[in-house]
Assembly symmetry: C2
Homo-oligomer: 165 residues x 2
DNA sequence: ACGGAATGGTTGCCGCTGCAACCAAATTAG
DNA sequence: CTAATTTGGTTGCAGCGGCAACCATTCCGT
């Protein structure tokens, strides 16, 4: 998918290609695999965010942040999940605009049921092709990069200055 | 986006999270950035495949393979690109079903015009956050993994046996 | 206390994507 | 030679995602 971009070095170009290819493939592949348990990868991540939250409850905004998604997207996904009975929506006591999204028992059931497929996909797509040492190396290098990734966009229009507080 | 999946080790889990987060963020960010030059990231990749092909010509199937996309998707994208005058479609001499997709001068212009934005996004999102050494390491580890990635799915339904001829 | 800004969220519209179904040409089997 | 399969590609439909516009509530400055 593009072999030599602009002023990038050989290694930079090579790495960037790997990343973009992974981006193209991973989500569709996960969606395909999770379809057999009735979830998209994004729904999986949304429910997982709830599962890990105290009281299995979050506000939509928080769910959006934890899944690196824009708010409107999460709003719609929660609506669908609610209709399917996987989460409930109740008004927040402290803020009349917000609502608390809570994982239902059924939602937990569906999510837990999806765990093996997800882990299996992770292994088959990536992890099985790496040695334990490589995994360690990759994880330690990538973790900080990912932490710095700001979904609200370091770019968007050249005004990005992500390095300043 | 999920903190500990099934039976994965700490490092595996950590790495997998990094990959999924990257997958969530990269394509939308690239789409947003390339929008200012009138292309999606996928269109960019499609045109780039043509640019790098001998005669700047490929069949739709070949474009799909090189961009890791399913055929119907590429079919539709080519239709749009053709309508915008960025590619032409002419019947193949050797196979009456196939057509040859060729990058037009205008298509090349648009693509070249997009290169800086794309490279800039690559740097800002990822590359600038890594040392040259880290880039070398990542590139060398990831390249073979990416090569092995089969978009036609090592999973899909557990029948995967990608290692046998 | 009041007007303006920021926050939390929803909605509409449009474009893109995936899948399944389909068609036509080409290849293989019998 | 003909029938069956495979290959190359297109299309319809339905669902998802992004963005911009919008509403309501809360926060802030004065």
């Amino acid at each position: 998918m593009s072999a030599r971009v602009d002023g990038l070095s050989e290694a930079e170009s090579q790495l960037w290609i790997s990343f973009t290819v992974l981006s193209q493939i991973l989500t569709p592949a996960l969606d395909a695999r999770l379809r057999e348990v009735g979830l998209t990868h994004f729904e999986y991540g949304s429910l997982m965010a709830l599962l890990e939250a105290p009281g299995r409850t979050l506000r939509i905004r928080e769910m959006a942040e934890r899944t690196y998604a824009p708010l409107p997207r999460m709003s719609k996904v929660v609506t669908r999940l609610e209709q399917r009975g996987l989460v409930t929506r109740s008004p927040s006591g402290s803020d009349a605009r917000a609502s608390e999204i809570k994982l239902t028992r059924e939602g937990r059931r569906v999510l837990v049921n999806a765990l093996p497929a997800h882990a299996d996909a992770a292994r088959r797509l990536i992890l099985d092709k790496l040695t334990a040492e490589q995994i360690e190396t990759l994880a330690s290098i990538l973790a900080p990069v990912v932490l710095e990734l700001d979904p609200t966009g370091p770019l968007s229009h050249g005004s990005g200055d992500p390095a300043s507080p």
